[in-house]
Structures are given as C-alpha cells and as structure tokens.
C-alpha cells in the first residue's frame, strides 16, 4: 500500500469509517513508513489537543441571557425573613435555658423558674395595661384607633404582596441568585 492510500485510510479512521481489514493495512503501513507515522502523530496530537481544550463558557451566561429575556430574577429569600431571625433566636434561647434547667436540676426548680417567668410576664402586661388606660383616657382615642387600624391593614396587605412576589409568571421559582 502506498502513502496516498495510507493517508486516505487515516482520514477514514478519523471519520470513524474504517473497516477492520483497512485498519490492519494502515497499521502495517505505519509500522514501516516513518513519514506517514509522523503525519499520523502530528494529526493525532492536534486533534487530541482540540478535543481536550473545549472552551467552557462563563457560568454567568444563563443568568445574563435569562435576565434579558424575563427581566431581572427575583431573589428566593422572603423579604420578611430577616425580621423573623431575632424572635426565632430569642425563642430558641429561652427554650434552650428551659431545657437546660429541666435536665440539670430537679423538676421543682424548673417549675419555680416557670412561675418566676410567668410573674414577670404578669408585671409586663400590667404595665402595658396601665399605658393603655392612660391612652384610652386621652381625648384623641378615636384618631389613635384609626391610625392603628390603618397600620394593621397596610401591614396585612404588604405581607400578602411580599409572599406572592416570590413567584414568577408561570409560578416556577428561579434558583437563588448568589
């Protein structure tokens, strides 16, 4: 087999269109022809490099494209979530103290502590009631109640809209934006 035929077979090999017999003939030729072997090595190295160096697109492409198509993505984090962190932390702390008391001392001590906490709550509520009594006795009680009512309604509306604002048009949530 001549070098031209060998080159043709090399091309067929790259296209995945070479039979066993032709492959064997090519291999035999490459064994005895250093020129064709060098060509094959050069080509193999080039194609290996090409296949191994497939460029990876920046990760931000999807976000940028989808932002342009759908508008900026909303964050999945609920807007009111940060406000829930402090009360949750306080509640967890109180529970932790109570549980610690329960396991570290006798149930009688835990009951005494609970009574003390209840007593404290009673005092706080009494102070609140005194403030309310003072407010109710003022001549502006009507205005104060109206403002409080409006604030309550506005708060409820804001909460409902903040909750529904997380969803997209189709109701599918976007992944959290980092």
């Amino acid at each position: 087999m001549g070098c031209e035929k060998a080159w043709e077979l090399m091309m067929n090999r790259l296209d995945g269109e070479i039979g066993k017999r032709d492959l064997m003939m090519l291999e035999n030729h490459l064994r005895v022809c250093p020129g064709c072997r060098r060509q094959k090595d050069a080509l193999d190295a080039a194609l290996r490099e090409l296949e191994g160096s497939r460029p990876a697109a920046p990760a931000s492409i999807e976000r940028k494209v989808m932002d342009r198509i759908c508008g900026p993505r909303r964050r999945e984090t609920a807007p009111l979530l940060p406000y829930a962190v402090l009360p949750a932390a306080l509640l967890t702390g109180m529970l932790a103290i109570l549980m610690h008391g329960l396991f570290a001392s006798s149930p009688v001590i835990v009951i005494e502590k609970a009574v003390r906490v209840l007593d404290l709550c009673h005092k706080v509520l009494s102070a609140l009631a005194a403030v309310l009594r003072f407010i109710i006795n003022t001549p502006f009680i009507g205005e104060i109640m109206a403002v409080a009512g409006l604030a309550l309604v506005a708060g409820i509306i804001a909460f409902i809209f903040a909750g529904s604002g997380k969803k997209g048009d189709s109701g599918v949530y976007w992944r959290a934006v980092k």
């Binding site: 080159w7 091309m11 790259l14 296209d15 250093p34 060098r38 060509q39 090595d41 050069a42 080509l43 190295a45 080039a46 194609l47 490099e49 090409l50 296949e51 160096s53 497939r54 460029p55 990876a56 697109a57 920046p58 931000s60 492409i61 999807e62 940028k64 494209v65 989808m66 342009r68 198509i69 759908c70 997209g168 048009d169 189709s170 599918v172």
Partner: protein, 197 residues
C-alpha cells in the same frame, strides 16, 4: 426533555423553558465565538447575543433541522460579523487569549514543559489555518458536530464540507510535521546517546 419540546414550550410563552437550551449549548456557542473572535470577553458577549437572537427568532426555527446546528449557525454568522467589525491580528489574539507559554525558568518538570510546548505548537498551527478550514476542524473535532450538522451550519453541500475538512487536516498535518520530525530526531539522538554511553 428534547430540544424540540423545549422550543415548543418557549413558543407557547414559557420563557423559562429557554434556560435548559442555553445551559446545553452555551459551551458550543462560546467555543465557536472564541475560535473566531479570539477574546474571552468578546466571545462571552457574542454568546449572549447569539442566544438573544435565537430567542427573538425562535418562531423561524425549522424543526426539520437540529437546534444544535441552528444555534451553531447563528453563532458562526454572528461571530464572523463581529470579527469583521473588530479585525485584529491572529498573533495579538493568541497573546490576549493567554496561551500557556511557559518561561524557561518556570521550574516546571521538563516533561510538562515539552507537553505545553507541544500544545502551543498545535494551537498556533490551528490558528494559522484559513478561517474556512479552521472552522471545519473546530466544528468537527472540537465541538463534535456531525457532517450533516456542519452542512446545516455552513450551508455547504456534504461534498464541500468533506473536502474542506480533508484539506484542513492535511494543512494541519503539514504545519505540524516539521515539529514532530524535529522532536523525532531529538528523541532518536537522545536514545542513541543513551545506548552509546
């Protein structure tokens, strides 16, 4: 889910269905753009524009063709247009692309240096091919497009695609043969010295 089903969902107004298509083909589009524009930033911008063009023209997508070939075609056309706008020299492009050229005193093992040198030679050889041939090599060997898909991308008949790929391989081989001959001789010399000593 296959591409056609996603395209249909997009056409039905479900914008989010386009995202899997972007994820699936972003490397292909970016790879084509990078090979034509030789700049990461420009290629990233071009990739974005290609997807936006595809989105805007999704209604004109012919389901008889593959989405892969269609998006690749948009990428090729867009990148060639962009490249004509910002014509630049190939050598500057390689520099900008930060080809991994390793200085002699980099402290790397000799084998690694040789391998990197080989990579650089290969890259330069590919870069030196005329654009129409380079594109064939990139689409077939780097982006793994079939002959049929390359025909759809370029709009050429199969005979021309095959012929150009054949020539591209031949040119690549010619450009690299010298380097491999040199390397082969050096290797033989080293082996002779080793056996002689």
């Amino acid at each position: 889910m296959d591409d056609l089903a996603l395209v249909r969902r997009c056409l039905a107004g479900e914008k989010e269905a386009f995202e899997p298509l972007v994820s699936k083909y972003k490397n292909l589009v970016y790879g084509i753009a990078l090979n034509i524009l030789h700049s990461r930033d420009e290629a990233a911008d071009a990739a974005q524009e290609v997807f936006l063009k595809a989105w805007a023209n999704l209604g004109r997508f012919n389901p008889e063709y593959s989405f892969k070939a269609w998006i690749a075609r948009i990428a090729v056309n867009h990148s060639i247009n962009a490249s004509q706008k910002h014509k630049r020299s190939a050598s500057a492009a390689w520099d900008e692309e930060a080809v991994r050229r390793v200085p002699a005193d980099s402290g790397l093992p000799e084998e690694e240096l040789l391998s990197r040198e080989e990579q650089d030679r290969v890259k330069l050889a590919i870069e030196s091919l005329p654009e129409m041939y380079r594109l064939m090599i990139i689409l077939f060997h780097q982006q793994s497009l079939s002959y049929e898909e390359i025909c759809q991308v370029t709009g050429y008949p199969l005979s021309i695609v095959k012929n150009r790929l054949y020539r591209a391989r031949k040119m690549l081989c010619e450009r690299l043969k010298g380097y491999f001959e040199g390397a082969g001789e050096e290797e033989a010399e080293w082996a002779a010295k080793k056996h002689g000593s």
